[in-house]
C-alpha cells in the first residue's frame, strides 16, 4: 500500500490525539477517578495505535499498545491514577510526540522506548510506587471473585423494556451476554458481526453495548455486551458464541431488568450468572457500563459533534483562495473603470451588484481563515504543570476566552512569545509556596491567560499574582548593564522603568536558570509581537502581580492603510500606526541640530522626508507650498512623514515579496492596487534611523 498519501492525515490526526492525551492526562491528574477522562485517553491512545500500525510505524504502535494495557487497568480501577502512573503516561506522550515528529521530519534518529514499555509493564503488573493519592483503588489481587463478577445492570429505554417484558410473558428469557475477544484480535468488527449473527439465530438481539454502529467501526476495546431475548437456555448461547474463533471469554447472565434501574446498582442481585473462560487464567472482570460512563459518552458525543461539523483544509489552499478573491476584487475595479470611462450604465449597474458579492466573498474567506486562539492555548496547561513542578511551585493556570478568533497567520506566530511570558511569570513572578504563605497569599499561585476582542484588535493577557516587578531593581540592573545612564535613570518614571525589561540583553535574574534569566526573553517577545503589527505592554504592582498585555491586529492578511504618493510612486502606510494627518507650510519646519522637526500641539515631532528615505528619483518635483504630513507612532515615539499627496484610506491585501526581497528595510511588504499595479507597504518602525 502506498502510505505516503495518508501521511499528512496521519501526522495531523496523531498530533491532535497527542494534544487530547496531554489535556486529558492533566484532567486525570486533577480528577484521578474520572472514567470519562480515562475513556477519552484510551480512545486517543487506541486511535494512534491503530493508525500507526496501519502506517507501519511499529514503535509508536508498540508504545501505545503498552499504554493501553495500563489505561485499561486504570479504567478497571485495579491501578490507581497516582503521580507515578500519570508521570509515566506523560512521558509516554512526550515520547510519542518525538516519534511522530520523527516521522514528520523523516528522521531515523532512534528513540528508545524500552525503559518506558518496561515501566508500563511494571505498572500493569501492579508494581508502581504508591504515591499518596486521593483515591486508592483496590489492587488487582485484592479483587474477590464476587466483586469481579458484580456488575451494574444495563440501562434500557422504554421500548426495550417493553420488548423484554413482552418476551418474558411469552416464556422467553432475557440474557446479558458479555463477550471478550482475544487481545490483539484482528478484524474485531468481523468477530463482533459473527457473534451478533450467531446470537440472532438463537433469539432477538435487542441491545448491544457499545451500539452496533460502534461495533462495526471497531469503536470498542476487546469486549462488548449484548442483550438477547431468547427461548433457549444460557448454555446454548454460551456454546454458540464460544465456537467463534478468537473469542476469549463469554459470560451469560439473565438480564436484570428495568424495574430495578432506579435502585442503587450494587444492590442488584445477579442471579444465574454462569462463567466460561476459555483458558481459565484470570478471573473475568465485568466490563458492564457504569452510569458515569454514560454521562461521559454524552459529553464526548457533544464534542465530537462540534468537530464533526468542520472540515480540515490545507492552509495553502485557503491562501490561494484569498489570492483568487483578491484577484477578483482587482478585476472588478478594472471593470468599474471601463464602465465609467465608456459610460456604460448597464455595466456599471451590474458591477455594483458584483461588488456586493465580492465584498461578501472576501469577508467569508477572511472568516474561514480565523482560528480560535485555544489552538495555541491548549498546549500551555501541560507546560505550566511541568515548569511549576520543576521549580517546586504550585501554579493554577486559568485560561479564558480561548474561543477568541485570530487569523491563522497570527496564531502560528503567537505561541513562542506566549511561552516566554508564561515561563517568565512562573519563574520570576510566582513565589515559592512558603514565601506566598508568609505574605498572606494563597500558597498556590495563579496565572491567568486571557484572550478577548477589543475593536479591531485581539488582546491577550498573561497575568500572575506573584511578586510583581520592582522598578528600582530594574533601573539598577539596567544601569549595571549600561543600558541607560544615571541621569536617565533618575528622571525615569516607574512605569517607564518597568518597560526596560523589553530592552535587548536585559535580565533581572541573578542566576541563569533552565527556565529563564538569559536575558533573551522579553525583547524577543517585543520584537515578535511588533513584527506581527502588535504591541506589548506591562503593568505591575509589587506583591500583587504583573500583567503583560499583548494587542494584536485581527489579521495580517488584510489591513486598513492610507495610500500616499511620493514622486509618482504609491505607498501604503498601515492605519494602525497613523495618529493623524496634517497640512503644513515649509515655514512650519524648524531644525534642531539639523534634524527637521515640527511643533504639533506643543510637542516636538521629528520629520522624515519620505522621498529621501526611499531614494526617490531626483527628477520628481515636490509641491513646496503645502506639505502633507502623516503623523505616525512607533511605540512611544512619534514622527511626521512628509509625502507629496494623500490618496486615501483603503483595505489592502498584504502580499509577501518572496525570499529574494525579504528583509529590505523600510518596506514591510507589497499589495496590489485596483488597477493591478503593485504598491509597497511602509514599515513605519524602520523609518526613523
Amino acid at each position: 500500500m502506498d502510505i505516503s498519501q495518508y501521511m499528512g492525515m496521519f501526522l495531523e490526526e496523531s498530533r491532535e490525539h497527542l494534544q487530547t492525551l496531554n489535556n486529558c492526562l492533566l484532567d486525570l491528574e486533577n480528577d484521578p477517578g474520572s472514567l470519562a477522562v480515562l475513556d477519552e485517553i484510551f480512545r486517543s491512545a487506541h486511535t494512534i495505535k491503530g493508525m500507526s500500525a496501519t502506517m507501519g510505524f511499529t514503535t509508536i504502535a508498540e508504545l501505545t499498545h503498552e499504554m493501553e494495557n495500563v489505561l485499561d487497568l486504570l479504567r478497571k480501577g485495579t491501578v490507581p491514577a497516582n503521580d507515578d502512573v500519570t508521570d509515566t503516561l506523560f512521558k509516554c506522550v512526550d515520547t510519542l510526540e518525538q516519534l511522530v515528529e520523527n516521522v514528520a521530519s523523516n528522521s531515523d534518529k532512534p528513540i528508545e522506548i524500552k525503559p518506558l514499555t518496561a515501566k508500563l509493564a511494571a505498572i500493569a503488573r501492579g508494581d508502581f510506587s504508591a504515591a499518596p493519592n486521593k483515591q486508592a483503588a483496590p489492587s488487582m489481587t485484592g479483587l474477590s471473585e464476587a466483586e469481579a463478577v458484580s456488575a451494574e445492570p444495563i440501562k434500557f429505554d422504554a421500548t426495550e423494556i417493553h420488548v423484554v417484558k413482552a418476551a418474558k410473558q411469552q416464556g422467553m428469557e432475557c440474557y446479558d451476554v458479555q463477550i471478550e475477544l482475544r487481545e490483539g484480535c484482528l478484524l474485531k468488527s468481523a468477530r463482533a458481526y459473527m457473534v451478533m449473527n450467531a446470537l440472532e439465530e438463537l433469539g432477538e438481539v435487542i441491545k448491544s453495548i457499545p451500539a452496533v454502529e460502534d461495533l462495526e467501526r471497531e469503536n470498542f476495546d476487546y469486549s462488548f455486551q449484548v442483550v438477547i431475548v431468547t427461548g433457549v437456555d444460557s448454555e446454548r448461547i454460551e456454546q454458540a458464541v464460544t465456537s467463534i474463533s478468537e473469542v476469549e471469554k463469554v459470560c451469560v447472565a439473565s438480564s436484570v431488568i428495568a424495574a430495578n434501574q432506579e435502585m442503587a446498582p450494587h444492590a442488584v442481585a445477579q442471579p444465574e450468572r454462569t462463567l466460561t473462560n476459555k483458558n481459565d487464567k484470570q478471573p473475568l472482570k465485568d466490563r458492564g457500563e457504569k452510569p458515569a460512563v454514560n454521562d461521559a459518552n454524552s459529553n464526548v458525543a457533544d464534542k465530537k459533534l462540534k468537530s464533526g461539523q468542520s472540515v480540515r483544509v490545507d492552509i495553502d489552499k485557503l491562501d490561494s483562495l484569498l489570492n483568487l478573491v483578491g484577484e477578483l476584487v482587482i478585476n472588478k475595479t478594472r471593470l468599474e473603470q471601463i464602465g465609467i470611462t465608456h459610460r456604460l450604465a448597464e455595466l456599471v449597474e451590474t458591477i455594483e451588484q458584483m461588488d456586493r458579492v465580492t465584498t461578501d466573498l472576501q469577508a467569508v474567506v477572511m472568516k474561514v481563515r480565523m482560528v480560535p486562539v485555544g489552538q495555541v492555548f491548549n498546549r500551555f496547561p501541560r507546560m505550566v504543570r511541568d515548569l511549576s513542578r520543576e521549580l517546586n511551585k504550585e501554579v493554577n493556570l486559568i485560561i479564558q476566552g480561548e474561543e477568541t478568533e485570530l487569523d491563522r497567520t497570527v496564531i502560528d506566530e503567537i505561541g513562542d512569545p506566549l511561552v516566554h511570558l508564561l515561563r517568565n511569570s512562573i519563574d520570576h513572578g510566582i513565589e515559592q509556596p512558603a514565601e506566598r504563605q508568609a505574605k498572606g497569599k494563597n500558597p498556590i499561585g495563579e496565572i491567568r491567560l486571557i484572550a478577548r476582542h477589543e475593536g479591531n484588535n485581539v488582546i491577550i493577557m498573561v497575568e500572575d499574582d506573584g511578586k510583581g516587578i520592582n522598578a528600582d531593581i530594574i533601573k539598577q540592573k539596567a544601569l549595571e548593564k549600561n543600558l541607560i545612564t544615571q541621569a536617565e535613570a533618575d528622571k525615569m518614571e516607574q512605569s517607564e522603568a518597568i518597560r526596560l525589561v523589553f530592552l535587548p540583553g536585559f535580565s533581572t535574574a541573578d542566576a541563569v536558570t533552565d527556565v529563564s534569566g538569559r536575558g533573551v526573553g522579553m525583547d524577543a517577545v517585543k520584537t515578535k509581537i511588533e513584527s506581527l503589527g502588535g504591541m506589548v505592554d506591562v503593568e505591575t504592582k509589587i506583591n500583587e502581580g504583573s500583567k503583560f498585555k499583548i494587542r494584536l491586529p485581527l489579521t495580517l492578511a488584510i489591513i486598513q492603510a492610507l495610500l500616499v504618493k511620493v514622486c509618482d510612486e504609491i505607498y501604503a502606510i498601515p492605519l494602525g500606526s497613523i495618529d493623524s494627518t496634517i497640512n503644513i507650510t515649509p515655514e512650519n519646519i524648524k531644525t534642531i541640530q539639523s534634524q527637521e522637526v515640527i511643533l504639533l500641539r506643543g510637542q516636538i515631532i521629528p520629520i522624515v522626508r519620505l522621498s529621501k528615505v526611499l531614494n526617490s528619483p531626483d527628477t520628481c518635483v515636490h509641491n513646496q507650498d503645502e506639505l502633507f504630513v502623516v503623523i505616525v507612532h512607533m511605540g512611544e515615539n512619534r514622527a511626521g512623514i512628509i509625502v507629496d499627496t494623500l490618496i486615501g484610506q483603503q483595505e489592502i491585501v498584504i502580499k509577501s515579496m518572496g525570499k529574494l526581497l525579504a528583509g529590505i528595510k523600510v518596506i514591510a511588504g507589497a499589495t496590489i492596487l485596483g488597477n493591478g499595479q503593485v504598491a509597497l507597504i511602509l514599515d513605519v518602525g524602520a523609518l526613523k534611523q
Partner: protein
C-alpha cells in the same frame, strides 16, 4: 551545478537575446514568458533588481538581466519580455531584450564554462552550447538569483 535534470542527451532551451548575443535557460526552469508590464521600484534593493510586478495576484521580483550580467543597458522595446523562472521555491522574472525560440540542443555539444572566456563571470554560466553556426550562452539561474548568497539590502 545546476539541478536541472536532462532527459537523455537532449536539453530543451528557451532562447532569448541580450544585446546581440543569444542565451538559453532550461525550459524546465521557465514558468512563462510575459510582455513588459508595470514594474514597481523597490527602494534599498540591489541595483539589478528592477522592482516587483503583479503576476496574477502574487508579487514577484523582476531583475534586469543585463544589469545583473554587467552588459550595456538598452531601452525597452516592444520585443522586451519578462521570463518568469522558478528555481527551488523562488520565482522571479528576468527582463530580456527578446525571446526568439524554444530549441533542443545535444548535451554533447555543450562546453563547460571554465573553457569560456568572455565578459560574463563564469559563475553565471553553466556552459556554452554550440548549434551549427550559433553559440548559445547557457545561464546558471541559481547563481543569477543568488541562491546560497544573501541579498544585501541597501
Amino acid at each position: 551545478m545546476s539541478e536541472v535534470t536532462y532527459s537523455g542527451n537532449e536539453v530543451q532551451l528557451v532562447v532569448f537575446k541580450l544585446g546581440r548575443e543569444e542565451y538559453g535557460v532550461s525550459i524546465l526552469q521557465v514558468q512563462e514568458i510575459k510582455r513588459m508590464t508595470d514594474i514597481t521600484r523597490v527602494p534599498h534593493s540591489p541595483e539589478y533588481i528592477k522592482g516587483v510586478i503583479n503576476l496574477r495576484g502574487s508579487v514577484l521580483p523582476v531583475i534586469d538581466l543585463k544589469k545583473r550580467l554587467n552588459l550595456p543597458p538598452m531601452d525597452y522595446t516592444d520585443d522586451t519580455r519578462i521570463i518568469i523562472v522558478k528555481v527551488e521555491d523562488i520565482i522571479i522574472g528576468m527582463i530580456v531584450d527578446a525571446v526568439s525560440e524554444v530549441t533542443t540542443i545535444d548535451q554533447m555539444s555543450i562546453e563547460p564554462p571554465q573553457t569560456v572566456v568572455g565578459g560574463i563571470a563564469a559563475d553565471y554560466l553553466t556552459g556554452v552550447g554550440k548549434m551549427e553556426d550559433r553559440l548559445l550562452i547557457l545561464l546558471n539561474v541559481e547563481a543569477i538569483i543568488g541562491i546560497g548568497q544573501e541579498v544585501k539590502a541597501g
